[in-house]
């Protein structure tokens, strides 16, 4: 079974754990074993937070530098901070605030490593839809729009619906749909 490594990054309070759970559940529903690592404690109070997720037959929970197939970042700086985890030909999905992404100084590296990146202002989109806490679902929309995602769009969507607390379910799906559509269009 091929191992797929994900790294999810953001700031405490942005809902990284939810993002991780959705991806893990997508794998589990396909019968693929999952091992991941989460951040708890002090850093959850607004510090840099990283989750690792590995699907397949693995023993250790952390994704080593240069081996992540996907990096999903809820904030630009957190994407840059974790750049080293991405493998050659890896994929980066990022919530960009509106600044051009990637920075000029980073672009050559991404090109050289054949890393494809998708940036969308998912935070802004979520805010416009009156769902400031649903940026994480928005980023899943960006991820679902990729050609190389290991999970079907419908499965990701259904998993978000299943794992969302009732009062956030509709908002999460709305933001997911909007971001999926916007990414597919570009």
């Amino acid at each position: 079974m091929k191992t797929i490594n994900f790294v999810l990054s953001g700031l405490g309070g942005q809902g990284i754990l939810f993002l991780t759970r959705v991806l893990a559940q997508c794998a589990l529903d396909k019968g693929i074993p999952v091992l991941g690592a989460e951040t708890h404690g002090m850093a959850q109070r607004g510090g840099s937070v990283v989750s690792h997720l590995r699907t397949g037959d693995v023993e250790s929970s952390l994704v080593r530098e240069g081996t992540a197939h996907f990096l999903l970042a809820l904030e630009e700086n957190e994407a840059y901070r974790n750049l080293a985890v991405l493998s050659e030909k890896g994929t980066l999905c990022v919530n960009a605030s509106g600044n051009p992404f990637p920075k000029d100084s980073v672009r050559p590296y991404l090109e050289k490593m054949k890393i494809q990146s998708r940036a969308l202002p998912v935070g802004k989109i979520a805010l416009e839809l009156n769902a400031p806490l649903a940026a994480n679902s928005g980023l899943l929309g960006v991820f679902a729009a990729l050609e190389n995602t290991p999970f079907a769009k419908a499965d990701i969507r259904a998993t978000i619906a299943r794992l969302s607390p009732k009062r956030f379910q509709d908002l999460n799906l709305k933001v997911f749909d909007a971001c999926l559509e916007k990414t597919s269009a570009t």
């Binding site: 700031l11 405490g12 309070g13 991780t20 759970r21 893990a24 559940q25 589990l28 074993p33 999952v34 091992l35 991941g36 690592a37 989460e38 951040t39 708890h40 404690g41 002090m42 850093a43 959850q44 109070r45 607004g46 510090g47 840099s48 693995v58 023993e59 250790s60 929970s61 952390l62 994704v63 080593r64 530098e65 240069g66 081996t67 700086n77 957190e78 840059y80 901070r81 750049l83 080293a84 493998s87 050659e88 920075k103 100084s105 980073v106 590296y109 490593m113 935070g123 805010l127 400031p132 806490l133």
Partner: protein, 618 residues
């Protein structure tokens, strides 16, 4: 069959219960905090009778579990590694006295450290106390080892430590299990003062008995398949072998699978103490050099006495502080391989990226108190009234009062008070009246505040103690406190108001205030300051009471008070530096401070702090 995607701490809970654990006690602390709540979840879903409790501190937790373990029951207590320091007194003695049932001490380590004051290695504590220790490499193994620990403890009548690292506790893995029940014997305590109340003369005998147990267990650890084992091929000599335990073992295993290296044998030591001498000797004989990879200190390395053969921390090959992340382990192994003239592993990754990221000068993301956190208001008021004080503080979310200049010291649980009295005496001795303001959370106060407060009152210290009472143990994930009167399983217990405990410690000045009302809090602090300085003054305790905004969203802010920043703001930066609410930020677009609506809690507190009056109700 049932299935779940469990946290490592959930896997430990499952293992303990499957192993027949009848009593589980704990004091929360990262990375151990979720074990007890997960036990409670299984107790409910599997309909078990296991007794659970949040104890007031780790020593209390250990003693309570120990009593069950000498009544023939199977018991466990769970804590973080520095919590075991608090329980160390009990552990050392319990090792001598032994058990009739089982006692497993789960002590979770935090290499890094991520959320602790030290990186100490619980295995060294096991060695000090002379009790066996198991070191799981991932959640799956933690579940098995929890059961094994209970069995070992019962068989040899000795406490056993399970030491998961943070990467086990906070890893998540998919699990399945069959329904189970927790049987076990009813409590029987057989009186035997020579053991259970042994005087020093009998302690010598108990010590001898303990040493004999360790010899037996060491032999068992030589043959503990799956836990302690190597993959040597008979009659083969190797230029290098790896000895690894715990999380580093799982990393090495994955590295070798990934890079298809079958030429380097591994000795796995998941049960490193009492040390499996014979097994280790076998391995060392077959290898010219061995590299030891263990977290966080040197335990295995000390036991492998051949310094010429053994590479690790003592030889400078392995970093002596920080977490052994997979990248670090890969580099260490490759350096050793190159040194020995063996082809290194092909590991992916581009070294230039580190430099690239470094040159981006990314902002360091400091953790901060949440928007709307009542502690922020408290620290602001404290700084306002006592700008020149020494601020002793303690362990919890409120340590982040650091960012507001309201925390000068944070030693360990309880030291907010004890260091305050210590500072007082150190200055008073020279005739100097040094103002001191101590801060401590409600849960920390119950954990280890009272002894220090009694001492301070008794010895005539003078300072202001602000108890930051937010009705919860917030930092570790909102566990209840004795003041709340809610027990681990959600049932109602007796609530013990902080005021009563403080009064019981002999304090005469006790007043309660809501810190959201900054004016009321500053007025009260001024009164407290006057009391401390008055001829027959002493310690003034101010209870700053307001619920945590994360634990009690609605109760904490019953009335939303949204705010906005007017053009009177001249971007003096006061609210960023001195009040530090993350929802207030300098907005380049409009040229002054703005409110980040997506994280603002609408607490309205900031309207009271802007010197220009520019933050107003929206």
């Amino acid at each position: 069959m049932k299935e779940a995607f469990l946290l490592g701490n959930g896997a430990i809970a499952l293992g303990l219960l499957e192993g027949g654990c009848q009593v589980v006690t704990s004091y929360p602390g990262t990375p151990s905090s979720e074990i007890l709540p997960e036990v409670v979840r299984f107790v409910k879903s599997e309909n078990l009778k296991t007794y659970t409790e949040w104890s007031t501190n780790e020593k209390v937790a250990l003693d309570n579990a120990y009593a069950a373990a000498v009544s023939g029951k199977r018991a466990a207590c769970c804590m973080k590694q520095v919590g075991l320091n608090v329980a160390a007194d009990s552990l050392m003695s319990a090792a001598y006295m032994g058990t009739t049932g089982a006692l497993v001490v789960v002590s979770c380590d935090d290499p890094g450290p991520h959320s602790s004051q030290t990186e100490q290695d619980t295995r060294l504590m096991a060695r000090l106390a002379k009790v066996p220790v198991l070191d799981p490499s991932n959640p799956r193994e933690a579940r098995e080892m929890a059961k094994l620990a209970l069995d070992l403890s019962q068989k040899f009548k000795i406490p056993v430590i399970l030491r998961p690292g943070i990467r086990v506790c906070h890893a998540r893995q998919n699990f399945s299990w069959e329904s189970f029940s927790v049987g076990g014997k009813p409590a029987v305590f057989e009186k035997n003062p020579a053991r259970w109340a042994a005087t020093p003369r009998f302690r010598f005998l108990l010590h001898r008995e303990l040493n004999e147990k360790l010899v037996q267990i060491s032999k068992k650890f030589d043959r503990l398949r799956g836990v302690n084992e190597h993959n040597l091929t008979k009659n083969t000599k190797y230029p290098l072998g790896i000895v690894a335990g715990g999380v580093p073992y799982s990393v090495v295993k994955d590295l070798f699978t990934e890079s298809r290296r079958e030429d380097i044998p591994i000795l796995k030591l998941g049960a490193p103490y009492p040390f499996p001498e014979r097994l280790a000797k076998q391995f060392l004989r077959a290898c010219k050099k061995v590299l030891v990879l263990e977290e966080t200190d040197t335990v295995i390395e000390y036991f492998l006495r051949d310094r010429k053969k053994v590479l690790g921390r003592l030889s400078g090959h392995v970093p002596s502080e920080g977490e052994l992340l997979p990248g670090v382990i890969a580099r260490v192994i490759n350096n050793v391989l190159e040194d020995l003239g063996i082809p290194p592993m092909a590991v992916s990754g581009n070294p230039e990226v580190q430099e690239l990221v470094k040159n981006l000068n990314l902002p360091i993301r400091k953790p901060t108190l949440c928007p709307g956190c009542p502690h922020r208001a408290s620290f602001f008021a404290i700084r306002k009234v006592q700008p020149k004080a020494i601020f002793t503080s303690d362990i919890g979310c409120y340590t982040l009062g650091l960012n507001l200049g309201g925390v000068d010291t944070c030693l360990d649980m309880g030291a907010g008070i004890t260091m305050a009295s210590g500072f007082y005496q150190a200055f008073a001795q020279d005739g100097v009246e040094q103002p001191i303001v101590a801060t401590m959370g409600d849960s920390t106060f119950f954990h280890s505040g009272t002894a220090g407060l009694l001492n301070a009152v008794y010895n005539g210290a003078r300072f202001i103690l602000v108890l930051l009472d937010n009705d919860t143990t917030a930092m570790t994930g909102m566990q209840p406190t004795p003041a709340l009167g809610i027990r681990a399983d959600g049932s109602t217990g007796k609530a013990i108001p902080l005021e009563r405990v403080v009064a019981g410690c002999g304090v005469d000045f006790i007043e309660v205030v809501d810190p959201y009302d900054i004016k009321a809090m500053t007025t009260l602090l001024k009164k407290a300051k006057a009391y401390v300085a008055s001829p027959d003054g002493g310690i003034a305790v101010v209870i700053a009471r307001h619920p945590c905004v994360i634990a009690y969203r609605d109760r904490a802010i019953p009335e939303k008070r949204p705010v906005t920043v007017t053009d009177d703001c001249d971007e003096c930066g006061f609210c960023h530096q001195r009040f530090e609410c993350p929802a207030l930020y300098p907005d380049a677009e409009i040229g002054h401070t703005s409110v980040n609506k997506s994280i603002c809690a609408d607490c309205g507190v900031c309207t009271q702090i802007c010197p220009k009056g520019a933050i107003v109700g929206a």
